[in-house]
């Protein structure tokens, strides 16, 4: 069953359900009853980064009977974008362009998690004819369309004309057009067949006037019909406008009021009742629809439902909706409009039209909703497309360290029973020892570095070498199509099945960070950090997601997809990218039906929990990234065995996991305390407590610091110092530390060479806070020949 998420934030806020909100209501009410879909309805929360779930019964009750609230009365259930599972569909049927949770932020998150993004496109008029809209609407719509074009997996259009307009737009923008499906809307709105009709307003005679119904706004082109009042009056036909005055129509309103035939041949009924509207429809010669552009043209169908002939603009969408029953005219020509009226008046044309219209049956909302449900189910199945019979039995490791591999092998042997073979890619000289010392269940086979390289020089840099070798491996080594790639020190902690890697037809990629947030070892970047920065730049430059998948645990690889990626980007094998992040981000963007993005599950990553601020919490703890150092005296695993011991392994691993969880919990507490401080500071000073080093008006460096900072006692805290690019000069040094009231450094002074930092990152002040309470001062120095100082109160508690 396909899980569909629908954000109905606008619908829930709209008092009068018309236009798009009416469509959303009609479709969603029916989708809730569709057994092929599991539907989760969402509405924005005040943070605009998460939703509350709308209970189905409350929603249905509110929108069918008008009682209660669509939000329900029970406990609020929260959903965050990153929690929507891979394979689900996010269906945007409401007017999402004016939602605070804007799609240029939301859609990339959904996409990088393998969620199928399906926006409903009603029209592109704010792009093609922006002059007809409020400026804010145009701006929001342009942003929304860009997000749609970049991230939509499929688009549902309401008309062929809309699809054609989209294709034209993509051509003009030189971008790919996402796959589109046309599903016309329903139109069987209740018309209150026997409902009361008011008497025809004074001055009007049946069949002696043409009617235009709807809000008076520039796009609807009332001006054309107003210009036609005189020639029509010469034919004994009057003109009637019924509706409200919309935006930007002050001048037109004056023109109507001043019209010489106002009250004789021209009438404007502002805000008429439903009964008056019914009378006007029933007695009109025709409904005129001179609009410049439309998304769908529901008013044409409404006119048919009243049995009234229609004269409409000759534009593709109205031709599509109005069909043969309507007559068409050039919406820039009064003569063309008058000619259409003449045709209707000639002979028995009108009678024949009315007869044909009487037989008209609009498309039903039931049919439209069923078509949409079927389309959504087809776009993404809950089960992915990796064949169910896929069996994983091969593991592959690149290593030059026999000791590490021999210590890891017993863990693989014991806890990964589905792995039968391990392909070891290593120098020729390592093979004999491995053959001699390993006698376990898993069968070893070998592929030498020499075979792999075939004479090509081996890059010196660690990460460049790794990526280069893995790319060669995919091309040359005897690999299964689907296998598990690992390193020689990734140890499973508990028995796992292949479901851990391949579940519900999707290969699970375990991510640990967002590459765009990766800080690394500040100012002294490792080969690994530099590889992350290069990978970030490559992925974002290609418009691909940029999660960090080097989670330091084994991961599933489909060799065919890896090769496909290398064929698409042949230059990258020498670029020293991160092999995991490049592959999984490519895979999830190009084959979302075959991948699922899942938070990582390893302990020992980071080596020490204070090495960096965690970006996400692990979804379970199933692997250990083995660091000898963590087993040394005073470290977290000091009292545990470093080797596999069948007798004690289960209890030891359980305890290790528990300890790691405690460490993770401490970091969560620190993050919560800092968030609380920021929130309290914001409520008091109305701005966030930011630290910055910037150029003042005179060009000199100046520290801008909050009134105070407050950090939890005993916590390991990182604070970012926003730094102007111009101040990152060669030789410029930043020093910082925390002094007590006697001027002694209680958090020792440290130094950052600003020119050494990645240009996209600001320096981080790393502050290991003392355990006790402290009233002190954070002291900063910027030294670039001249020294600039700044300080602020620093409370540790």
């Amino acid at each position: 069953m396909t899980h569909v998420y629908i954000d109905l934030s606008r619908l829930c806020l709209t008092k009068f359900t018309t236009g798009i909100q009416r469509v959303a209501r009609e479709i969603v009410l029916r989708m809730l009853k569709d057994p092929s879909l599991e539907v989760t309805l969402l509405a924005d929360m005040p943070s605009h980064t998460e939703w509350r779930v709308l209970p189905h019964d409350a929603f249905t009750e509110f929108y069918t009977k008008g009682t209660g609230s669509p939000y329900g009365t029970g406990k609020t259930v929260i959903v965050r974008p990153r929690e929507i599972e891979s394979g689900a569909v996010f269906f945007d049927i409401d007017s999402a362009w004016n939602m605070p949770m804007h799609r240029s932020w939301l859609f990339p998150i959904l996409r990088e998690h393998g969620v199928t993004v399906v926006p409903h496109l009603y029209d592109l008029i704010p792009v093609t004819e922006p002059q007809f809209f409020y400026s804010e609407t145009t701006r929001q719509f342009l942003v929304w369309v860009t997000a749609v074009l970049q991230n939509a997996s499929h688009i549902i259009c309401n008309a062929e004309a809309t699809k054609a307009a989209l294709a034209k737009l993509c051509g003009e923008l030189e971008c790919d057009i996402p796959p589109c499906t046309v599903i016309p809307l329903g139109a069987d709105f209740k018309q209150g067949g026997n409902a009361e009709q008011a008497p025809l307003p004074e001055g009007l005679t049946p069949e002696k006037y043409v009617l235009m119904v709807g809000t008076i706004e520039p796009r609807k082109n009332h001006a054309l019909l107003l210009d036609a009042v005189k020639p029509l009056s010469e034919r004994g036909i009057k003109v009637v406008f019924a509706g409200r005055i919309g935006w930007n129509m002050d001048a037109f309103q004056k023109k109507m009021a001043a019209h010489p035939q106002n009250g004789t041949d021209f009438f404007f009924f502002e805000g008429p009742t439903d009964a008056v509207i019914r009378a006007l429809y029933a007695n009109a010669l025709a409904v005129v629809f001179p609009t410049m552009n439309e998304g769908f043209g529901l008013p044409v169908i409404e006119a048919y439902q009243h049995g009234t002939p229609v004269l409409a603009s000759d534009i593709p969408v109205l031709r599509e909706v109005g069909g043969e029953l309507a007559d068409y005219f050039d919406n820039t020509s009064v003569d063309s409009l008058v000619a259409a009226v003449d045709r209707l008046l000639a002979g028995d044309t009108r009678a024949k039209k009315k007869e044909a219209i009487a037989a008209y049956r609009p498309r039903t909302w039931d049919a439209a909703a069923a078509d949409m449900a079927a389309a959504l189910a087809g776009f993404s199945q809950k089960t992915g497309t990796v064949p169910a019979e896929t069996r994983i039995s091969q593991m592959v490791v690149l290593t030059a360290r026999n000791d590490d591999l021999l210590r890891t092998l017993p863990y693989l042997d014991a806890f990964l029973p589905f792995i039968e073979r391990l392909l070891v890619c290593c120098p020729e000289r390592n093979i004999a020892e491995l053959r001699e010392k390993w006698h376990g269940r898993i069968q070893l086979s070998f592929f030498t570095d020499e075979e792999l390289l075939g004479g090509a020089p081996l890059p010196k840099d660690h990460t460049r070498r790794n990526f280069f070798l893995r790319c060669l491996l995919m091309e040359k080594a005897p690999l299964d199509d689907v296998f598990i790639m690992t390193d020689d020190d990734y140890r499973p902690l508990l028995p796992l099945t292949q479901e851990f890697f391949l579940k519900d037809g999707r290969m699970r990629g375990y991510y640990c960070y967002d590459l765009r947030e990766w800080y690394g070892t500040q100012g002294n970047y490792t080969s690994y950090d530099l590889s992350m920065f290069r990978t970030r730049d490559f992925l974002t430059g290609e418009g691909l997601p940029a999660l960090q998948y080097s989670a330091h645990q084994p991961q599933i690889i489909d060799r065919r997809i890896y090769l496909e990626m290398l064929a698409k980007y042949p230059h990258i094998s020498g670029d020293g990218l991160d092999e995991w992040s490049t592959y999984f981000n490519y895979g999830i963007a190009v084959h979302p039906d075959r991948f699922a993005a899942v938070p990582y599950t390893s302990i020992g990553w980071p080596g020490a929990i204070t090495d960096w601020t965690l970006w996400c919490q692990p979804s379970g703890l199933c692997f250990e990234n083995f660091y000898d150092a963590l087993y040394e005296n005073g470290r977290i695993f000091a009292d545990f065995s470093r080797e596999y011991n069948a007798e004690t392994i289960v209890s030891e691993n359980m305890e290790k996991v528990q300890r790691w969880r405690t460490e993770l919990g401490k970091q969560q507490q620190t993050a919560a305390a800092l968030a609380m401080f920021r929130s309290v500071y914001h409520s008091q000073y109305h701005m966030m407590p930011e630290l910055s080093l910037c150029e003042g008006e005179d060009g000199a460096a100046v520290f801008r610091l909050p009134k105070l900072i407050c950090i939890p006692a005993g916590a390991f805290v990182r604070l970012r110092l926003l730094t102007d690019d111009a101040l990152r000069k060669k030789g410029a040094v930043l020093r910082y530390g925390v002094q007590n009231t006697e001027g002694r450094f209680v958090i020792p002074q440290q130094e950052i060479r600003l020119a050494d930092l990645d240009s996209k990152l600001h320096p981080e002040l790393v502050l290991p806070a003392p355990a006790g309470l402290l009233n002190g001062a954070l002291v900063l120095e910027y030294d670039c020949g001249e020294i600039v100082r700044g300080s602020t109160a620093c409370l540790v508690r």
Partner: protein, 163 residues
């Protein structure tokens, strides 16, 4: 053709601009303002994305992001002189101070982040020496258990009514 979000937004802006100019109308905002607004997160306002805007666009952006509405004509006129004449940093600081202290903002409280301007400052830093003293832990535990009226009395006796 693959394009970054910024590049595609820039293209679509230019396309809409050409259409709107052909209709003898004006784009609702400059290209720079359009991009600065589009790149924001939904839950906060990142000042660094507004850094390169000129004063006119800056005040439009501040109203749109912090107050959730377009800049009204009366406010635009009230700031007109300063928009053209004040040094950029002073102008921005003044605009932000005025907006952040408004009752309208205090109903929304959208956080302004990564802003290096001295918006919250008027009288310098808090003096470390006069930072509020902490009650000893033991007394604090007793205090927390007091009913509300007793807490109020305790605060009064300690001379910390405003604490």
């Amino acid at each position: 053709m693959k394009q970054t979000p910024e590049a595609l937004r820039s293209r679509i802006y230019k396309l809409a601009e050409s259409r709107i100019e052909a209709a003898r109308a004006k784009m609702p905002c400059s290209a720079a303002l359009f991009e600065a607004l589009a790149a924001q997160r939904p839950d906060s306002v990142d000042y660094t994305l507004l850094k390169d805007l000129d004063n006119r666009d800056f005040i439009e952006a501040v109203f749109s992001l912090l107050l959730g509405r377009p800049l009204d004509d009366a406010t635009r006129a009230a700031w007109q002189d300063r928009t053209d004449s004040m040094p950029q940093e002073q102008f921005r600081t003044a605009v932000l101070r005025s907006v952040l202290r408004s009752a309208e903002y205090q109903r929304r409280m959208t956080p302004l982040c990564r802003c290096p301007l001295p918006v919250a400052e008027e009288s310098g830093q808090i003096n470390v020496q006069v930072a509020p003293q902490q009650m000893p832990d033991r007394l604090m535990r007793v205090y927390r258990k007091l009913p509300a009226p007793m807490k109020k009395l305790a605060k009064k006796l300690a001379g910390k009514e405003d604490a």
